[in-house]
């Protein structure tokens, strides 16, 4: 299947996108799949890897969740593990082909600042994690109205 995603002929490629949920759903296979696809890219252009998040995936990091954390500490711990795993995948991918990581979320207006704050927390946590292979290039955080 990875052979189908051979990007060696796509000379203008500059963005590769996927969803955070699909990385988690694929489990151990995600890293192998994405690394194989990345290794086929021959485009000399700087590459952006865009990871799309849904609001529910970062809710335990949002500001309004802070007062509730003592009740939902298990959820936060589980989310932290998931995000650590994802950053591990990003690190492995970076070793194959350098890219700029873009963490992206679609939100309705009132949650826009909240999701940026949550994504910044996730990045900060990954940076502090000694076990994670943190990227040499700082991630970009962005959101779009939906």
């Amino acid at each position: 299947m990875c052979r189908d995603f051979d990007l060696s002929r796509n000379s203008s490629l500059r963005t590769l996108e996927t969803t955070a949920a699909s990385i988690t759903a694929a489990g151990d296979a995600a890293s192998g799949f994405l690394k194989t696809v990345l290794s086929t890219i021959t485009s000399p252009l700087p590459l952006e890897l865009v990871i799309n998040y849904e609001m529910f995936e970062v809710r335990s990091y949002s500001r309004w969740y802070i007062p509730l954390q003592k009740f939902y500490s298990n959820e936060r711990a589980a989310d932290t593990l998931i995000h650590q795993e994802r950053f591990k995948v990003f690190g492995e991918m970076y070793a194959v082909r350098p890219f700029r990581l873009v963490l992206c979320a679609g939100v309705s207006g009132r949650f826009s600042q909240d999701i940026v704050w949550a994504l910044e927390c996730i990045v900060e946590e990954a940076r502090k994690d000694e076990n994670s292979n943190y990227l040499p290039c700082e991630p970009v955080i962005q959101y779009f109205a939906c």
Partner: protein
Amino acid sequence: MTPTLRPSPIARLPQELIELIISDLIGYTSALLACSMTCYSWYIAAVPHLHHTLTTRNSLTCSDGGKSNWPRPLRNSYNLGLLPFVKQFHFHTFCDPFTPEKLDRSTLHHFSALTNLQELGIGELRVPNFMPNIQQYFGHFTPTLRSLVLWEPVGSSRQILYFIGLFSKLQDLRISYVSSVDQREGMAGAKLVPLSVPPLCGRLTLKCFTKEKLVKDMITFFGGLRFRYMDLFKVKCVRLLLGACADTLEGLRLYPTDPYGEELLSRGGSSERTQAIIRRKPRSRVPGF
């Protein structure tokens, strides 16, 4: 003494400034609605954004037991003279195919009032039922239509190709199926030739798509493909598509679970983001980025 009512300074603002203020509120329906009720000039600025999208859908929560409310939204908007403001029109119903019966004489008249439509989305479009007069139903969208969304379209590859070819300025194409199986491929309309060659240079989104012949026909009749972005999930002819857009493809959305994992039909995409609000660029430590 009779009190005199002084005109509001808001009414004296230049229209360009009002439009600038209103443009900051795009997507905030309640705010736009409030602005549209302040005065005539604010109404003029806000109303195109309020009626940008018209969607007709039936769902399990529909008040009349899941039946489609078609053509009520279209008729209501027509009666209020709002259809020229509509840029996106989505007819998305479940178990209620879009057939010529949906477009009787009066409804077709309302349908024709969508004079500035840029995106047309239709669920379960039965292309064979519209043949051979399909142009009479959809041809009036040709000058403005840039994006076509088809959920579960029914028809042979050549018939769907003919439908796509009606829109000579089409840039984005999205075809979604719920399942990869049961996309019956007949030979109907084997001699049909598309009426135009749309540029198709925007975004291609395919979900659970196995109609390889349609892709081959598009390459043949449209002289190749020029999409800049692709979003592919459970697509049978990935290699063919990537090869066809080898020189033009700038962005690709893929899924590590593809093709045998769970379906993750995500809404929207960052390449589709037309209203990106914020982009934080932290310090870069890698040259070139």
